[in-house]
Symmetry: C2
Subunit: 322 residues, 2 copies
């Protein structure tokens, strides 16, 4: 795996990214997987009352593993996360290095499906420079990593190279003690139609009760015999499309239902992954590309339409008339 | 854990079940989990062409682990599985034992979601006597076990005692080398309404394109703001309801869409689990209780409505007018 990433990154002065930051993130994903595997007490959190507590413990566990690993990377200047949404100095970074990165992450996404033991994930964006705020995501977010905790542990790495090339790679994560991660698919690409079956993942479905356009869209999916796959976890839902080679995820926003997805910790990394795989990600509020707009604050939010380009364009039209 | 099961089973002459068969099954689940964790090559099966092969390998792996473990249990007379749907002698059983069991299992359920690394499961029914065919499921299927392979490994064990008592237990599965399984919840019970939110899992949703009643039911769920959770894996979908304490799973059957779920390997064990947790399971073709009817052949199939009793009754009425 190391060799493959090195070949992609070596012409672009990303030595620290390749030799330190990405390995630290993949090893963290391995360690988070190992900790989750032992965290049987989370199952106790099945009831609504107890859930807050259990969720918090596992979130903090993942947060701590990531922060501890990133602190050891000399090129990491700044960190912020969904659990602590403020950009803070990583502390021990070497300011003399030519590479300086900011890491923005959601340590454990999918809290509602942790208790039933469904697949959950980690979402990480890597930014060039000492801050992710007021930066152009399409050029300054130079990599993204998704950790997928299911029967196996896998990761999706997206690279956004200075020459405009984008790569999406699926990696099988090794055991924490060995860390021998292996490339499963060197170039993840969403396929072109025709498709034998079409997948759809309708998030925030309750929106459809008050939004006729979303309801019509759901009816369209059903009438056209799309296959439903919706876990309610952003990482497994997006990775499903990447592994199957096609599919679409829709999380609309209505006046009655607020946008829930954080741009910095969820949307930007997901968008880079999907675009690197040849797909599209747009804001359902206005049809704008997710990566076309920077954030001024860590907690800005939006909805999401993402996946196979042809489907995203159709859904954009259906929801917005654009 | 051993003590808890022993206390429940000791008055009922189930010594072998308690000391040999259930431990063998739980240890097998631990071993299957361990093997799945290493099976990164399954990810290669993301494409339609390659999928058949990858799926087969993992299925056979799980099948082999279960058969090898069960062969060592003196009270196991007969085995059959979704991979080899014929009742065969287990070989080395001791016919002099007062306990004689038949094991019917689906070694790895959820083949379509293995490649994207979503939670999958094992489904096992344990029957009193040398065959499960032409036996009354509600008395002769004396236990069921679901293995859940996600970020953790968990199991649901349902016991159907001769005195009519039924118990549903959630177990945290330990590492293969240690096998120290622990009780997570000694009595899993579906709650009574009211619910803060209601969950629905609509399987075989393409049916709704040709079945107005199913389409109306979907519209009912959406209009009433139910929360959608549908992975497409029977085990995770059912376990979601058990862990959340409520929810409903619907897999209808129409003239255009055949019944897909095997009664012996899927429906009977799932039905025992759900009923032991205080829920209900009915056949969407006629509203009959799933456990009310025996099978003459290993591969008889049906649809399924299961979960919270109040919801199952409402859906039965909506789909059948009963």
């Amino acid at each position: 795996m190391d060799k493959y990433l090195e070949n992609l990154l070596s012409p672009h002065e990303r030595t620290e990214l390749c030799s330190s930051v990405l390995p630290a993130l993949l090893d963290s994903i391995s360690n988070i997987a190992d900790s989750l595997r032992e965290a049987h007490h989370v199952s106790l959190a099945g009831t609504t009352n107890a859930f807050g507590d259990g969720q918090l413990n596992v979130d903090i566990l993942a947060e701590d593993i990531l922060r501890a690993a990133l602190k050891k990377c000399p090129a990491v200047m700044t960190m912020s996360s969904e659990e602590d949404p403020v950009e803070r100095s990583a502390g021990e970074s070497e300011k003399s290095l030519s590479e300086q990165y900011t890491i923005a992450f959601d340590p454990l996404d999918g809290s509602s499906i942790i208790a039933p033991n469904w697949t959950v994930g980690t979402i990480i964006g890597i930014w060039d420079g000492p801050s992710a705020l007021n930066q152009n995501p399409s050029t300054k977010q130079i990599a993204a990593v998704l950790g997928v905790y299911g029967p196996r542990t896998t990761a999706i790495v997206a690279l956004n190279l200075p020459n405009g090339e984008r790569h999406c790679i699926e990696i099988g994560i090794g055991k924490p003690e060995s860390m021998n991660h292996e490339i499963i698919r060197p170039e993840v690409q969403l396929a072109e139609p025709p498709f034998k079956t079409r997948y759809f993942a309708p998030a925030n479905l309750r929106c459809a009760a008050e939004n006729g356009r979303y309801m019509d869209l759901i009816t369209h999916f059903v009438s056209n015999k799309y296959t439903l796959r919706y876990s309610g976890g952003l990482v497994p839902d997006v990775v499903h499309a990447l592994v199957k080679g096609h599919g679409v995820y829709v999380s609309p926003v209505t006046t009655e239902s607020d946008a829930k997805l954080r741009r910095l910790y969820e949307l930007f990394p997901i968008a880079l992954v999907i675009e690197a795989a040849g797909g599209k990600t747009v804001d359902p509020a206005n049809g704008e590309d997710i990566l076309a707009r920077s954030v001024a604050h860590c907690d800005e939010r939006a909805g999401l339409i993402c996946g196979t380009t042809e489907e995203v364009d159709r859904i954009k039209k259906a929801l917005l008339g654009l």
